[in-house]
């Protein structure tokens, strides 16, 4: 049971990553690889600050801000210096590797016996239940610690989702969505599309970094290699989410991304349980995304063929 709750918790934490990837890949059609670096950046910033005794909420906010900055760099490289979108992301991601090492001063920062959002959530949960360490849920033993951490993460993600949803429906947010949709039109309506892209990538990477900060606090450490392949994870979540909700209404797509992230994490946990070697995880993920990208084309073609026949 503890394993299941842990899976859900990580799924929700990584759904912030999925939301970030959703903004760059889906709203702007910008393949932003920066996320691989900025998720570690978020973890590094949060972990280092926490190790220095900074308030966990502040440390997480600082991680978000660091992500904003990373996204701004990528956006500026692309819009201001006309560097190809993929390459801008790769440049910033590579640079971030060194930046992350500088932030942490070593390759790994443990968060043992440090006050984090996770320990705070556990404490609140314990106080709430009056010192009971576990309770029964349909015959399963559930640890109060695990349950309260999960609740805290669900709340955090719900808050982020709501804020993002509201933002996407403001004048600024709508201009952002239209920029990715039809750049000619938005220029003709007086919007500087470059500014929109920089801004959108900043928010995207901010969310990714926040996800990294929460992940570090949950795992109890930040590691310089934890970001490798994360963009593909996010993309897989977004694709699953789209298949789940099958709509392009803003609110539903956001919920879809969160659901996709949780479901994907669940699939991974099951696969590992069945004896998939953790070493093969990234390979399997890449193959999965490959199929998720080509299957819709095949379906369309076969549908066309059957329509002609």
């Amino acid at each position: 049971m503890s394993l299941l709750i842990g899976t859900f918790t990580i799924g929700f934490i990584l759904s912030l990553l999925a939301l970030g990837v959703f903004i760059s890949f889906r709203i702007f059609a910008f393949p932003d690889i920066t996320a691989d670096g900025s998720i570690t950046l978020g973890a590094a910033v949060a972990a280092t600050l926490l190790a220095h005794g900074v308030n966990p909420a502040l440390a997480s906010l600082a991680a978000f801000a660091a992500g904003l900055l990373a996204g701004t760099c990528t956006g500026t490289l692309h819009t201001r210096f006309k560097i190809n979108s993929l390459l801008s992301g790769i440049l910033v991601m590579t640079a971030l590797y060194s930046v992350n090492l500088h932030v942490m001063r070593r390759s790994n920062v443990p968060l043992l016996s440090v006050n984090t959002l996770v320990t705070q959530a556990e404490r609140i949960g314990m106080r709430f239940t009056g010192g009971v360490t576990s309770f029964k849920l349909t015959g399963w033993d559930v640890s109060v610690r695990d349950a309260s951490v999960l609740c805290a993460m669900v709340l955090a993600v719900a808050l982020a989702c709501t804020l993002l949803y509201l933002f996407l429906r403001t004048n600024l947010g709508m201009a952002m969505r239209a920029t990715g949709d039809n750049v000619h039109m938005i220029r003709a309506l007086g919007v500087n599309d470059s500014t929109m892209i920089v801004f959108g990538l900043a928010i995207s990477n901010g969310l990714v970094a926040l996800s990294g900060a929460l992940l570090a606090q949950y795992q109890g450490f930040a590691d310089v290699g934890m970001g490798i392949g994360m963009v593909v994870w996010g993309l897989a979540s977004v694709i699953i989410g789209e298949a789940l909700v099958g709509s392009n209404q803003v609110g539903l797509t956001l919920i879809g991304a969160v659901m996709g992230s949780v479901l994907f994490r669940l699939m991974v946990a099951v696969a590992l349980r069945w004896g998939l070697s953790p070493n093969d995880l990234k390979l399997i993920t890449a193959v999965f995304v490959f199929f998720a990208l080509i299957v819709p084309q095949f379906l369309r073609k076969s549908r066309l063929r059957s329509a002609h026949a």
Binding site: T170, N171, A178, D181, N182, H184, I186, L189, G190, N192
Partner: protein, 270 residues
């Protein structure tokens, strides 16, 4: 309202593929005038419109809109003064956004966009009213994504968006060319209505001799990046589509003459 001073534009300059799309074009538009531009393919009429809109910067000359020198302004900054409808029905609207979201984007053309709520109920009410005037039944479908509409409907909405805030200058780039004849007629009627109602200064490129003869109060004919005829006032009112076809034929003959003359001279002297 619009003052274009001797603008020139070459594409691929300095290469064998150099195209001199505009050569020293000057034009002055009085407030409230409606100027039609015609010309054969490659005459520079659309390039001229794009130069005014700021799609690219001109090589020489200057452009003033509403008294401001906008020659060095990027496209999005000029949008403050300029409303545009494109030839391609897909260019003027955002397909994945709803009708009302598109309109609300247009309601802030050239203005600051902050964290204000995009779809205020008063604005949506006004949208319903304006959209119902298009007589397309779209007022009941404001939540639908624009991508689900026909080309004619999208162009009508683009026109509504371009004129939602009264533009100092309205640019219409063959905006009926991609439509079926019936939708084109509807769109032209809507265009006449809004131009007359708001007394808009309008620059319109068209392929249709019919439209060129019947619309507007001034007609400009372009050829090889230059203005070769400028019909105004009574002369414009007298013009018929056949007259325009005759003019095009004259241009074509003059061009042939150029070539044959060159050939003759070449045979004789080279």
């Amino acid at each position: 309202m619009l003052e274009v001073q001797a603008i020139a534009k070459s594409f691929n300059a300095g290469t064998p593929n150099e195209v001199r799309s505009l050569r020293c074009v000057s034009l002055r538009l009085e407030p409230g005038s409606w100027v039609i531009i015609i010309g054969s393919n490659g005459s520079g009429k659309s390039t001229f419109l794009n130069a005014v809109a700021g799609t690219f910067f001109v090589d020489e000359g200057s452009i003033r809109i509403a008294g401001k020198d906008v020659t060095a302004w990027p496209e999005y900054a000029r949008a403050k003064f300029v409303g545009r409808v494109f030839q391609n029905p897909f260019s003027g609207t955002s397909p994945n956004l709803s009708i009302r979201e598109n309109l609300s984007l247009a309601a802030r053309r050239g203005r600051a966009r902050g964290l204000g709520w995009g779809l205020k109920s008063s604005l949506v009410e006004k949208m319903r009213e304006e959209v119902s005037r298009l007589n397309m039944g779209l007022e009941h479908r404001l939540e639908n994504a624009i991508g689900s509409l026909s080309g004619g409907q999208r162009q009508a909405l683009t026109l509504l968006m371009a004129t939602w805030l009264r533009p100092e200058l309205l640019l219409l780039d063959e905006h009926t060319a991609a439509l079926d004849p019936k939708s084109a007629d509807i769109l032209i009627a809507l265009t006449e209505q809004v131009v007359a109602r708001d007394k808009l200064t309008t620059l319109m490129v068209t392929h249709s001799m019919q439209q060129a003869a019947s619309l507007g109060d001034r007609l400009i004919m372009m050829h090889r990046g230059q203005i070769i005829h400028d019909f105004q006032g009574a002369e414009k009112r007298r013009i018929r589509p056949d007259d325009l076809l005759t003019r095009f034929e004259e241009v074509r003959r003059a061009e042939q003459l150029d070539q044959t003359a060159a050939q003759m001279l070449a045979e004789k002297y080279i």
